[in-house]
């Protein structure tokens, strides 16, 4: 036992003496949360637009002012003719051109209808869609306000309630997502790289001939990362709670237990990766590119799973972070108990057992 504790201490020393490792352990979670919290948001701001006003009357000026005053847009330049649209889009700054037809106010007065054309640079389809929606919202609002009492007869008023997230905060999505990603990353990447490093440097031989049993070696390698990953989980939840106002509506104990399970699953995956690779670069590649990008994109973290083609939906079912995200969201936001997340928990537990079994089968205590 004493030998074992000594071994665990050695592992901790390896981790703490390294600035780069600490950067990954604690820099990434914090940076990720801040980036997703403040930088990668779907809210529009300071989008540059150009206006081609062929009418230049009170109404068009008023509408232009409303659009600019909304805070989403800033005017870049006024166009003279429709031929310039292509040119300014190619320059790459302006994302929307608003065109008012000639005689706009007059037509609105006489024929009760007038035309606005919105041309969006849709090379970024998602943003273009948002921009057009925002702009048309502003224009419709303005028209409703000048219509005043003369409103629609027979009006169906939809009253919308955003359940679990009244203020539509993006944080409710990215805290679970970041947690799933970071825990996976740290546990799988760090363990696999640290074990493979011993192999690559030849120090694994030294460990194998030591009186420690292979099981103890592996356990000793894994324990520090369990501890550190767990600290990360706490840091992420705390940051989410105090900085971004993400509530914990369900049981904290359950959340912690589920995080432990997930961390163990990720560690067993890391173990498995380390048994099938023999150089650090390979271990890193598998952990980084085979785990990281799919976790980012296929787990439903950024893009909803239901929108994906069917094959990718199946593929995403194979990705444990997907289930972990569901668990965290359910516990933290819906405040439900274990009876609502047992299926997901079972999936993660089975995955873990699978990876451990595979690693035991593949682990060689002798050198070739």
């Amino acid at each position: 036992m004493k030998k074992f504790i000594g071994f665990v201490k050695k592992e901790f020393n390896h981790i703490f003496r390294d600035f780069q490792t600490m950067l990954i352990l604690f820099g990434i979670p914090v940076a990720q949360l801040l980036i997703f919290g403040y930088v990668v948001t779907n809210e529009l701001k300071d989008i540059k637009i150009a206006i081609l006003d062929q009418s230049k009357d009170d109404v068009t000026l008023e509408i232009s002012n409303k659009i600019i005053a909304s805070g989403y847009f800033i005017p870049d330049q006024n166009l003279r003719s429709i031929e310039d649209v292509d040119k300014i889009f190619r320059e790459g700054n302006v994302r929307l051109v608003v065109i008012f037809e000639p005689g706009f106010a007059k037509k609105l007065e006489r024929e009760h209808t007038a035309k606005v054309q919105l041309i969006a640079d849709a090379s970024d389809a998602n943003t273009a869609n948002l921009i057009v929606n925002y702009t048309s919202g502003i224009i419709y609002n303005y028209i409703n306000s000048i219509n005043g009492t003369n409103e629609m007869p027979l009006k169906i008023i939809p009253e919308v309630r955003m359940v679990y997230n009244e203020e539509m905060k993006g944080v409710y999505m990215f805290v679970p997502g970041t947690m799933a990603m970071i825990l996976m990353l740290i546990s799988a990447l760090m363990t696999s790289v640290s074990i493979v490093r011993e192999k690559e440097m030849g120090t694994m031989e030294v460990l194998l001939v030591s009186p420690l049993k292979p099981g103890q070696i592996i356990l000793g390698k894994v324990i520090p990362y369990v501890a550190l990953a767990f600290i990360d989980a706490v840091v992420i939840i705390a940051l989410g709670y105090w900085v971004f106002g993400m509530p914990v509506r369900g049981s904290l104990m359950l959340l912690i237990a589920e995080s432990f399970l997930y961390i163990s699953m990720a560690l067993s995956l890391g173990l498995f990766i380390s048994t099938v690779t023999n150089n650090q670069l390979a271990a890193m590649f598998i952990s980084f590119f085979a785990l990281m990008l799919p976790t980012l994109l296929l787990s439903g973290f950024i893009f909803p799973i239901e929108n994906m083609p069917l094959i990718l939906q199946w593929l995403s079912a194979l990705i444990p972070p997907r289930w972990f995200i569901v668990i965290i969201k359910n516990i933290m936001l819906k405040g439900v108990g274990f009876e609502y997340v047992w299926k997901e928990t079972l999936i993660i537990a089975l995955t873990m057992i699978g990876f451990i079994a595979l690693s035991i089968k593949k682990f060689k205590i002798r050198l070739e």
Binding site: Y38, V39, I47, T113
Partner: protein, 372 residues
Amino acid sequence: MRTILYIIQKEFIQIFRNKMMLPFIFVYPLVQLIILVNAATLEMKEIDMVVVDMDFSSLSRELTGKFKGSPFFVIESHTTSIKEAEAKLKSGEADIILHIPQNFEKDLFSTGKAEIQLLADAINATAAGITNAYCSYIIADFNKSVISENRNILPLSLPKSVDIEYSYWYNSELNYKIFMLPGILVILVSIIGMFLSSVNIVREKEMGTIEQINVTPIKKYQFIIGKMVPFWLIAMFELGFGLIIGWILYRVPVEGSLITLFSFTAVYLLALMGLGLFVSTISHRQQQVMFINFFFMLTFILMSGIFTPVESMPDWAVKVNVINPFAYFMRVIRMVMLKGSGFQEIAYEFYAMCIYAVVTLSLSVWKYRKTT
């Protein structure tokens, strides 16, 4: 010159001796482009809806029918208990509840107004926002058709309306794939340029083989050029390979000139490799260099505008992006590929990258020591 060629030859042999390399160069991009480009879409479909119809009128059935007929919604179930519907929302079986209260039809025709409720699971705020937009569109459309069907019993006064015409240039179908493909290409090219090249040097350090090179008459610059050229070539090749795959799989064309795109990439890669070299001069172990690279790549790629527009980011992030090489490449590759921007339009980015390359390369050559 001959020395450099020999080093390059040696590097190529070493790179391709690693069994991981060939799959990495050919299979990995293919997988990324197939999976990630398809995954990254915000077009909603199959939104599961529970209908709580308490009115049982022809109008309420007609409204439900509108949702059923839209390509975005799937009616998961009908119920008359709002409790039951809420339980479905909680368990995740439903994404949204449409609640039509009693007397919906009667209220509409007697008072001219009627309310309905929509309860959306808004944990994913973006998705909920889009769902909401679809719903209001369908309801407004339904409202219009109800009015025109009942024109005879209504007072004749048309409100003013503005007819908004949309056009989406460069991507009229709002195909998100077209936007994601260049973004994924940036990641692929950058991984080779920065990640592989810097790990390669540190590997020599860690294995001790760098000392063998240090005792040879090879000069500093020759060594660095010899180390860089192979990865530079592989990364350029990777861009071409990715473009061909993009064309075959998604028919994403390069609207602008290939020469512009490749010359920008050439300079970009130099800047990035300078950065990678610099990281490798200050690290001693592969693990360190991988972790530093990993940290910066993850942070800077997310900030580069791969998913969301750069100008909507907070001011400090916009400033950070001035020194973020990925942000320049992300912008230029999309401009050239999707909009056909020419050299004039990307001149600023091009010169910025030239300066970047000069600075990072001279920094790392200065930092690199043949002696330890």
